[in-house]
């Protein structure tokens, strides 16, 4: 049984870490970009961002004033029980989001879409989003809490493509999205671009969002042909000649991650997402004995999450 108080305390620590500490994989990616950037203005912007990350950590102040829309991904081991049940877990995550909004402080971004009601705590109807995943391994009771504070306005698009559009059509929509939101830097690039391919319409958006926020820079899809596309699309995005803030430059895409799901036989839906210069994510695994291990790699897309088969053998036989 995972203690509920520990869940809330850990969640508050994660909100703080996500807002203040740039994940190492993104930082390494941005440093590599800054080393290659030769556009004068783009280069200035990247250096300012690198300085900004240092100042955020020194001052324990949020790296970006726009908190985005804080959300949660929760992954549970198959045997995990939470003290008070899953309703208590959701209440703890909502309470942690509210507490950290005034604690860090974060910007209260969440309002009612029509009445613009603002509780000043980033909590409201459907906010923060909480999504779940389950894993067969490792055995035992554990829960992964993942918070992502992703920018909420620009850089995202969806389109229903069709099999006859093929890879050239996918490339066109990818470039259209980068051109539309890259100008003037609305996407806050260079970004981790996530592409969702397939699924139903909502799942297509979910896959793309998770590709951008739940995979680290340098990771590759387990399908080698998709991994090749990821490499190709990263290079394609960086060949536009557009850099940070839409200034002339050669760094638009820190990495490109593609996730797929089976879709309707007649279609090929596609979504594009941009996880920005403040790619805020933080992860912790909590065990039933009270151990908490913090990390920045959500490790969401396991073989189990990408499974194609009807069932998942509980014990996989050795191949000898």
């Amino acid at each position: 049984m995972i203690p509920i108080q520990l869940i809330q305390e850990t969640a508050e620590a994660l909100m703080d870490k996500a807002a203040i500490e740039i994940p190492q994989d993104y930082l390494d990616g941005l440093r590599a970009a800054a080393d290659t950037e030769d556009g004068e203005l783009s280069s200035f912007v990247l250096k300012a961002m690198l300085e900004n990350y240092e100042v955020a950590k020194e001052d324990r102040r949020a790296m970006c004033g726009d908190t985005g829309v804080p959300r949660w991904f929760v992954k549970l081991g198959n045997e995990t029980q939470v003290e008070g049940g899953m309703v208590a877990l959701e209440a703890a995550l909502r309470q942690a989001t509210a507490n950290s909004t005034s604690g860090v402080p974060l910007r209260p971004n969440r309002v009612h879409p029509l009445w613009r009601t603002d509780h000043n705590n980033n909590v409201g109807i459907g906010a923060p989003e909480i999504e779940y995943g389950f894993e067969p391994a490792p055995e035992g009771e554990w829960v992964d809490l993942i918070t992502v504070h992703k920018g909420g306005l620009f850089g995202t698009d969806y389109r229903m493509l069709f099999p006859s559009d093929g890879i050239p059509g996918i490339k066109r929509f990818y470039l259209d999205s980068l051109m539309a939101f890259g100008k003037r830097g609305l996407a806050c690039q260079p970004a981790i671009i996530g592409i969702g391919l397939g699924g139903s319409k909502d799942i297509c958006m979910t896959l793309g969002k998770r590709a951008s926020t739940l995979r680290v820079v340098g990771s590759r899809n387990s399908d080698p042909r998709i991994a090749d596309l990821e490499d190709e699309f990263k290079e394609l995005g960086n060949s536009i000649g557009m850099g940070a803030m839409g200034f002339v430059g050669k760094n638009m895409v820190i990495d490109c991650n593609i996730e797929v799901g089976y879709c309707h036989t007649g279609g090929m839906p596609m979504s594009v997402h941009a996880f920005c210069l403040s790619s805020r994510r933080a992860v912790a695994r909590i065990h039933a004995d009270g151990r908490v291990a913090y990390r920045t790699d959500p490790d969401w897309f396991t073989d189990y999450q990408r499974r194609e088969t009807i069932d998942w053998p509980p014990v996989r036989e050795a191949a000898e």
């Binding site: 200035f44 970006c64 470039l175 002339v248």
Partner: protein, 222 residues
């Protein structure tokens, strides 16, 4: 940090100081700056509420920003990070706002069009300063010497409230328009445009079109 020239500018700048600014210059601000976006504009312009500051004598700098900040129980403020929001959405209010408040520096994200600059920035002697990144929230937060006041937070919420901040070498900002009405981002777009056809080579338009890709709503999209 090497790069473009670095300029100190008052938030109540002289006409000469504004005239000296060139596209791409890097600016740091000193003095009082206030945040105002759609909430403040609607309250001041549509509802005709009295603006609780002397403008432009106290400040001629309008920041399109909602800070990450809290109001403490004792009435004091904590401001952490400060980041701008995209300005193009506020174009409908700005001509009237500038006429009413004498704002000379519009500070935000992404700038406006050269048409906006020529129509009402230049006649008002005003220029646009863009934040950098975007998202140098911690750097800009360090430039906040103190929060002087927050107005209308009960009516508008913390994000839309009018925050009055004392800037001490707050920056960096990039000069994105000048008194010719030229636009830094449009200049950069034009350079990038030369390359677009090459990048798109080998791609193809979607089989099914969308409205917007044809302007005639009597057209089919297939």
């Amino acid at each position: 940090m090497s790069g473009p020239p670095e300029i100190r500018l008052s938030t109540t700048p002289t006409p000469e100081a504004i005239a000296d600014l060139r596209l791409g210059d890097v600016v740091y601000l000193n003095g009082l700056m206030y945040t105002a976006r759609e909430g403040v504009y609607m309250r001041a312009l549509k509802d005709q509420a009295n603006i609780p500051m002397e403008l432009p004598s106290e400040s001629a700098a309008n920041f399109h920003c909602s800070p990450a900040a809290r109001i403490n129980a004792d009435g004091s403020f904590d401001m952490g990070a400060v980041t701008a929001t995209a300005s193009f959405r506020f174009a409908k209010w700005l001509p009237e706002w500038m006429a009413k408040t004498g704002a000379k520096l519009i500070v935000g994200k992404g700038g406006m069009t050269s048409e906006d600059y020529k129509d009402y920035f230049v006649p008002n002697g005003a220029v646009y300063l863009s934040t950098v990144g975007y998202g140098t929230g911690a750097l800009l937060g360090r430039g906040v010497e103190r929060v002087e006041a927050v107005h209308w937070h009960e009516e508008l919420g913390l994000a839309q409230a009018m925050w009055v901040i004392r800037c001490n070498r707050m920056g960096p900002f990039i000069v994105a328009s000048d008194l010719n009405g030229d636009c830094l981002f449009e200049r950069e777009n034009a350079k990038i445009a030369e390359n677009v056809a090459r990048v798109y080579r080998g791609t193809k338009p979607a089989v099914m079109k969308r409205y917007g890709e044809t302007d005639d709503r009597t057209d089919e999209v297939i």
